[in-house]
């Protein structure tokens, strides 16, 4: 009485992607909450600034030299830890259109008294890189 086709073990499309389309809830931020939060945030910023301004003795001595090794090879990381999972200078646009949305920068940090750089990707339209790019472009033109 078996009505079975045992031969069906072949080509199954076992999809592993866990795509789920949840109809998004409309997030409504309480405007009163927003205003109150903004006020507190600004107060905290102002208070931070004021505390520093008052402290006149703390005129810093400058210690802002960019270490020489940063200017050597531009992709090498001299301190072992490359930007994890995001190595490589620039990423390709997901659509494969060839438009780079991000650029790679090195972040200079201090570990104790040692200087280190870490590679990071930042959006191309970030004001930080825009300055550099513009200058590069200007310099190229000259």
């Amino acid at each position: 009485n078996s009505d079975v086709d045992d031969d069906d073990g072949g080509a199954h499309v076992a999809s592993d992607d866990d795509e789920v389309q949840v109809r998004p809830k409309v997030v409504k931020v309480d405007p009163e909450e927003e205003v109150e939060f903004d006020r507190e945030l600004r107060a905290l910023m102002q208070e931070s600034l004021d505390s520093r301004k008052l402290d006149l003795r703390s005129r810093p001595t400058l210690n802002m030299m960019i270490p020489m090794n940063v200017f050597e090879g531009s992709t090498k990381d001299h301190h072992g830890r490359a930007a994890e999972g995001e190595s490589g200078d620039e990423t390709l646009d997901e659509d494969g259109g060839g438009v780079n949305k991000e650029v790679s920068v090195r972040v200079l940090v201090k570990r104790g008294h040692k200087q280190q750089t870490k590679q990071m990707l930042i959006p191309r339209d970030c004001s930080l890189v825009q300055g550099t790019k513009q200058k590069e472009a200007a310099e190229l033109e000259e």
């Binding site: 999809s15 520093r52 995001e86 940090v109 870490k118 990071m120 300055g131």
Partner: protein, 822 residues
Amino acid sequence: EETGEDESYDFGKGDFTEHACRYCGVQNPACVVRCNVPSCRKWFCNSRGNTSGSHIVNHLVRAKHKEVCLHKDSPLGETILECYNCGCRNVFLLGFISAKTESVVVLLCREPCLSVNALKDMNWDLSQWCPLIDDRCFLQWLVKVPSEQEQLRARQISAQQINKVEELWKTNPDATLEDLEKPGVDDEPQHVAFKYDDAYQYQNVFAPLVKLEADYDKMMKESQSKDNVTIRWDIGLNKKRVAYFVFPKEDNELRLVPGDELRLRYPGDANHPAWQSVGHVIKLTAQEEVALELRASQGVPVDVNHGFSVDFVWKSTSFDRMQGAMKTFAVDETSVSGYIYHHLLGHEVEVQVVRNTLPRRFGAPGLPELNASQVFAVKSVLQKPISLIQGPPGTGKTVTSAAIVYHMAKQGQGQVLVCAPSNVAVDQLAEKISATGLKVVRLCAKSREAVSSPVEHLTLHYQVRHLDTSEKSELHKLQQLKDEQGELSSSDEKKYKALKRATEREISQSADVICCTCVGAGDPRLANFRFRQVLIDESTQANEPECLIPLVLGAKQVVLVGDHCQLGPVIMCKKAARAGLAQSLFERLVILGVKPIRLQVQYRMHPALSEFPSNSFYEGTLQNGVTINERQSSGIDFPWPVPNRPMFFYVQMGQEEISASGTSYLNRTEAANVEKIVTTFLRSGVVPNQIGVITPYEGQRAYIVNYMSRNGALRQQLYKEIEVASVDSFQGREKDYIILSCVRSNEHQGIGFLNDPRRLNVALTRARYGIVVLGNPKVLSKQPLWNSLLTHYKEHECLVEGPLNNLKQSMVQFQKPKKIYN
């Protein structure tokens, strides 16, 4: 419910990882930072959720904390954010600047370092100071914003909750969001909902209910001590001591099940020292004796029989596993697929189709051919990530389930997990699935390994013992030694356990299908298993957290089988039941709009018996897969009032009484008439195991058993073999003939247990060949559903009274049914 021996098991999987956002639970290292204030050190993410600022900024502002540290697995590694020049760590002052020519950036404070003129001369571009906190959020390239998916699956915390929990942290830094919503001791618990914002809210609602039920269960079981128990001693096949004794039970109270743990005590006398030992219930005999297998065989006072005491040893295992599953559901995003997650919480999810090649035929080897509605069910289920199958009585849901599991297993998506709340149901299903040729492992709780099972050859412990290969000889040797001596030296015990665990793992991993109870799915032996496809049978008899246990092992495709028109989960604590713990996940999904696929052909009842249940509980959709001829009890001479309708309602006017225990009811005239009906059946050639007597009251059950064995007209033994039980314990089973004794007969009080339509449905749908209902129509007719049942019997000339050998149609007047108010 069952217990195992996994007290030491730690539900670590379900715990918060340390770096999870303390507001929403997001734990992606690229998205979180730690507040660096020494007394705080909490982690927060950079998503806004439902608030205007991101969670980390919210925290810093509310708590007035100003320093943070990045995660060690973030692109910059574990880094305290500070001014490169002066070391200032106030994030409200920090921002990035870049070098004039190179792609080098550095953190600098706005005051005073940014205003030092000398910087301009040093290759730094001061015109583009880029603050760390922008638009109430950390720079998104430094601290990533969790993906939309991650955010949707996180706890949906509100600004109000943030303010409250921040307030709480000022006095109790370790407080959790759950603490905010903890009800006071006397508060009614929060009622279950249909939809939940997130799995944390779900956990907040269910965890207290599970706790209530656990507390109640513990209190009740531990208060069940009995003194002056008389013991009959025996030795089991495994050479262990078994104590037999009677452990009386009351209505609605403790029901012992195999696997329960009891402590047996003897106070000692002139010739015997005081003694006690713990054991597992291995069976309950028809004579209502408990068989308790003792753990230790030494020093047992086997020459004594009287004066023992019995206590219940309560175990929290099943409740712990429910709590663990809810936690895992919330914090482990691999616990179930995103689709299942949102669906279970009642979120609106776009319909998803499972892309699987469908088999050409939907039956399976070793199973009966499927009917149209069964084929439809198998086919639909295979294409959907979540489906409900409703199996009315006798419609072959076990066969349908087995066919579904067969096809799932053939899809090559890994092992299939098959569960049910009760061991009986798991065994039945395991047997059917095994018949298709799939490799099945039936995982039993450790405490039930001594309990006999119809599918023993499929159980993991049996397979481990009988795996007869040379590599296993070491394990065999140790097992033998252990069996003979009762215990092993500690080094041998260690070796034995390791070998056993490895063998268990090997056997389980090679199976196509693992079968266990819902609670059993939380067994530590399955802790590292993942199951994408899960089928839960009898799911309408499990409470939600119980149902969740098998699901959080990685479910992507879920099939819930059950019937929400039959009895639901048993919840002992009234408070928890009132708050909705007695509603199954299946039912909630139905309410949320998931349409169950209904199996429509019943193969159990004589067509005359299925008519009323079909019309009253299944909108008349139940078709008969058996004919009147196939259910004709040939050669049985029984006074059915209408020959082709093997059913009648036998009018009883005898009074109900309170039973001796004071907590139950009995009805002597009904009991006497039950005996007469049983005797008539037996005389006409029906054998005892064809007959079932159902009564909703323990008092009446005990009375009938007693009455029949003392007053039965035939041999006592015949009556002893007849099963007399509650409606609830007949669910899922069938008998050829059913006698239903309703007991309640009073003008003023209600009809108690009989009020639940689902219980009436179960009672009426157990019989294959014939049914006799005994009750008082005057009382029962007040309830609308009973009124229509009585009317149905009356219309078919099956409402009768008088002596059994001279039944006459009854003219008793019904009362007007009370209106139902919703």
